[in-house]
Symmetry: C2
Subunit: 269 residues, 2 copies
């Protein structure tokens, strides 16, 4: 109760977690609200936070003291010092880039950077952890992984295959080079990763279909749960990719693919 005040945000979080249980009703409301709105501490007043937590200001004051601070101000100082908004000089710079005129290379770069960043943020927010774990489990116990992705999904498919290979996971990239078809390489103990975005590529769907009818598990990486690949897949991973102009950044898709590959590599030991 009279411990020293947390001096870092990580310390703050663990203190918060350790103190939350065994707190009376009102103080618990404070703890819950603060945990869910940690980011607003730096820019709010006691009254604002208290009303958000639906408690009187005095309750919130007491709560700050329970965490070890002398009062609200001391707690706020921690967050104000650490405050680095999602736009330090980064946003300023983006703005400068864009200001150099619509259509200029710099402005385009700014747009694509922004599209990539948004995609990644949305991925973090919307990623389905359960599906991801299922996909890893499924793919980790397969012998060989068959990766397919064409057109704009091709860079992802090729990188995924590259990383899998580096991790000593047997993987075949079905790239349709020379219209050669390796679908007879699909063995029942294998698994398939199919990547496709609207407009969905027939060749990709066809390979997934083939894998499915041979009894291979199929993991689909696509843009929506309504994508045609969904019906063919055992597990579907959706990626909310933000386009700029007609082109998608692929940042989110690559991040997801990398995570998938490394998780598979780890699971296989």
């Amino acid at each position: 109760m009279t411990d020293a005040a947390p001096t870092t945000i990580d310390e703050f979080r663990s203190r918060l977690a350790s103190v939350t249980d065994g707190l009376p009703k009102r103080l618990r409301q404070c703890a819950d609200y603060i945990a869910a709105n940690t980011d607003r501490i730096a820019v709010s007043t006691v009254a604002e936070l208290a009303s958000g937590a639906d408690v009187p200001p005095s309750a919130l004051m007491r709560f700050c003291q329970i965490l070890g601070f002398s009062g609200f101000s001391e707690m706020q100082k921690l967050f104000r010092d650490a405050y680095a908004p999602g736009w330090p000089d980064y946003t300023t710079r983006l703005r400068n880039l864009k200001d150099s005129g619509a259509g200029s290379p710099s402005a385009l770069l700014a747009e694509f950077v922004e599209a990539g960043r948004l995609s990644l943020e949305q991925l973090a927010k919307s990623a389905d952890e359960t599906a991801l774990s299922q996909a890893v489990a499924l793919l980790a116990r397969a012998d060989t992984l068959h990766v397919v992705g064409l057109r704009r999904a091709y860079p992802v498919a090729s990188y995924l295959t590259y990383v899998l290979e580096k991790l000593a996971v047997p993987a075949i990239l079905h790239d349709h080079a020379g219209r050669l078809d390796h679908r007879h390489a699909l063995r029942p103990s294998d698994a398939c990763i199919a990547i496709t975005f609207a407009p969905y590529s027939d060749e990709t769907l066809s390979l997934a279909q083939d894998a499915r009818s041979r009894g291979l598990p199929v993991v689909g990486i696509t843009d929506h749960l309504t994508s045609p690949i969904a019906r063919l897949s055992s597990v579907v991973l959706t990626v909310p990719e933000v386009d700029f102009g007609a082109f998608r950044s692929l940042s989110a898709t690559l991040a997801l693919s990398l995570a998938l590959a490394v998780a598979i590599g780890t699971a296989r030991g």
Copy 2:
């Protein structure tokens, strides 16, 4: 002078820019300091900002009014409210993902998302606008673009080629499939884009060397100005890609490549 107060941060910035010239000494100090520290407005007091700008608090108050606000508090409100969509649940969510245990798929995803985001931010901060414009100019007046990038640079090279093709810019991907070599396709009126990261691929360097000795302009996309591709290039674009584990996110490289491709497409009309 008595315009309405800015209601968005963009508006704020342009107001600031338009008002800065023709301001007396002290007020100008305010303008400069605020422009450089916009991000701290939300979490500072008048006194703190004033002392940062090395002016008395009253000067800063006057400055707020010149911008159209009734006072400092109104200006601060703009930034405190706008802060909501910076980290709101995104950072919390990332944290949750990571908390699910080191090595878990979710934790890996969080790491790659973070690596990608950092890469993009650094790219925005460090991008060399001049070099980018030069590269676009050089590539826009070439007949055919020869794109080369192997191993981990291959996904980038392939996507770049895909996008160029979509934009009706003639492009050849030198993918070394079947060890076939297209270097005789290099014509003096063409140009070359070579992408390579440490450890630099010999084949990529060799093709760039060839292009150079035939008098083609070479644009290098690489990790450092000291990269071996730099000596072979007419223009070098560096990308500060953040790795996680042994693998790079490629987000920044792809964003840069996309911007390059679209700028070339636009410049060619």
